[in-house]
Amino acid sequence: MEIEYIKTSELSVYANNTRTHSDEQVEQLVQSIKKFGFTNPILIDGERQIIAGHGRTLAATKMGMVDVPCIVLDHLNEDERKAYVIADNKLALNAGWDEELLKIEMGALDSLGFDLSVLGFTGDELSGLFLDVNADTFSDSFELDDGDKPPYQQITFTLADQQATIIKEALAKVKSSEEFAVVETYGNENSNGNLLFTLVTQSQWVEQKT
C-alpha cells in the first residue's frame, strides 16, 4: 500500500463517525505522536474523507502538522466504507491485555526512566495497574551512593540579553585562543566552564586586581 502525505486542511471528517474523541484522548495522541512519531497512517477514501484516524487527525491539527501520512482505500464501495469506519475501531477494542505481563513490561520501562504517561493510560489506570500488586514483586535491598562530593559545581547567572550576547561572543573568541588550549582544567570536561575559566584567568582586569 502506498503512503501519501496529504495536507490536514484537505481532509474531511466523516459526519457519521460513531467514535468519539475527548480532549483528554486527543492530548494523549499528541503526546504519543511527539514521542513515537506519526506511526499509524490515516485511512481515507478517494475524496479524502477520513475512514479511520479521526482522533489522529485532530491531534495532528492540534500540533500544527501541515500534512499527515495517509493510505487511500479507494477499493471500498460506499457501504463497505461505512462498515469499515465501525469495524476498524471495534476490532481493535476486542483485543485484551495480559495484565501480569503488562505490569512486568511497564515496570521494566519505568525502571529505565521511560515516561509511562505517553502510553495512553490515565493516571488512575496506571495507579490501578501498579497499586494492586503483590509486595513480593519488589525487593527490600538497594544501593545508595557513598562517595564524596563531586569536585564540580554548577553556577547559574541571570544576564540581560545584551550581556549574554557579549559574553557568548567573548567565549567563542576564547575557544580559538592559545590560552584555552593550555588552560588548567582540573579534570573538568565542560567546555563552557573551561572557556569561562580561561577568560577570567587571562583577563587583564583580574591580573590588576589580584
Binding site: 515496570g107 519505568d110 525502571s111 509511562l116 493516571g123 496506571l126 495507579s127 501498579f130 497499586l131 494492586d132 500488586v133 503483590n134 509486595a135 519488589f138 525487593s139 527490600d140 535491598s141 538497594f142 544501593e143 545508595l144 551512593d145 557513598d146 562517595g147 564524596d148 562530593k149 541571570t158
Partner: protein
C-alpha cells in the same frame, strides 16, 4: 499494634511512588530529588509511600551534624499514606525503612525531615518514630502564587526563575519543623543545633494536625477521651 504488624515495606519504582504521592500527599506534588522509594503494602495492595533523597540545600544541611561526609545523610522528603492502614502504621513503616537504610546503606548516619506546620502537621509521626526536633521556624519559604492559588517553595521559585515575583507573594501562616533521626547514635553528640523539647511547639502556638491548628496538649486530651 493490630494489623500494623502485617505491613510489608519494599523498595518500589519511582513511577509507582510518584503516582501515589500525587494522589495522597496533601501537596499533590512529588520531590524530584527523591531517589529511593519505599512502598508500604497490606494485603497485597499499596497503601503508603516514603520517598528519600538528597536535600536540595545539601551543602547547608550537612553542617547540621559536624563531621558528616557528603553521602552520610539523607532526607525523608515525602511521606503519604491512604486511610486504609491501621493505627500506628506510619511509625512502623518509618521504623522498617530505617532498618533497611541501616542494612543497605550503612554509610548513612542520619536522616533529616521537615514537617509543614502551615498546611499539614507539626510532625506527630516523626516524634512517635524517635526523631529529634531541632528547629521550629516561622514559615517564609512556602508561599502562595496569587494568580494560580498554588503553593510554591522558595527553591522551586528559584529553579523556575520566579524569585522576584515570589518575594511579593504572601507566605502561608504557620511554622516549619526540622527533625533529625540518628541511624548512627555515635554521631548524635555532633549535632550542631540544640534538641528542642516537644513542648516548645505548644509554647510557640505552632501546633498543627492534619491541617488544623491544634496544640499537642489538646490532642492528648482528646485522645484520652476516646
Amino acid at each position: 499494634m493490630g494489623r500494623a504488624k502485617d505491613i510489608i515495606v519494599k523498595v518500589i519504582p519511582s513511577k509507582l511512588a510518584n503516582d501515589f504521592i500525587k494522589k495522597y500527599h496533601y501537596s499533590g506534588k512529588v520531590v524530584n530529588n527523591s531517589k529511593l522509594h519505599f512502598g508500604c503494602f497490606l494485603d497485597e495492595r499499596l497503601h503508603g509511600v516514603m520517598s528519600y533523597g538528597h536535600s536540595i540545600n545539601k551543602k547547608g544541611t550537612i553542617n547540621l551534624v559536624a563531621g558528616t561526609k557528603w553521602s552520610g545523610f539523607i532526607e525523608l522528603n515525602r511521606m503519604a499514606f491512604d486511610d486504609v492502614l491501621p493505627r500506628n502504621s506510619e511509625s512502623r513503616c518509618i521504623a522498617i525503612s530505617m532498618r533497611l537504610l541501616k542494612k543497605n546503606a550503612p554509610h548513612i548516619q542520619w536522616v533529616i525531615s521537615f514537617a509543614d506546620g502551615t498546611q499539614c502537621g507539626d510532625g506527630t509521626i516523626y516524634r512517635a518514630s524517635g526523631f529529634k526536633l531541632v528547629g521550629i521556624a516561622k514559615n517564609t519559604a512556602l508561599r502562595v502564587n496569587p494568580k494560580t492559588g498554588e503553593a510554591m517553595h522558595v527553591i522551586q521559585a528559584h529553579h523556575l526563575k520566579m524569585s522576584q515575583e515570589f518575594r511579593t507573594w504572601e507566605a502561608f501562616k504557620g511554622y516549619q519543623f526540622k527533625y533529625v533521626y540518628f541511624l548512627d547514635k555515635s554521631v548524635e553528640a555532633n549535632l550542631t543545633l540544640p534538641v528542642l523539647p516537644f513542648s516548645k511547639i505548644d509554647e510557640l502556638g505552632a501546633g498543627m494536625y492534619k491541617g488544623q491548628k491544634v496544640t499537642i496538649e489538646e490532642r492528648r486530651e482528646n485522645a484520652a477521651l476516646v
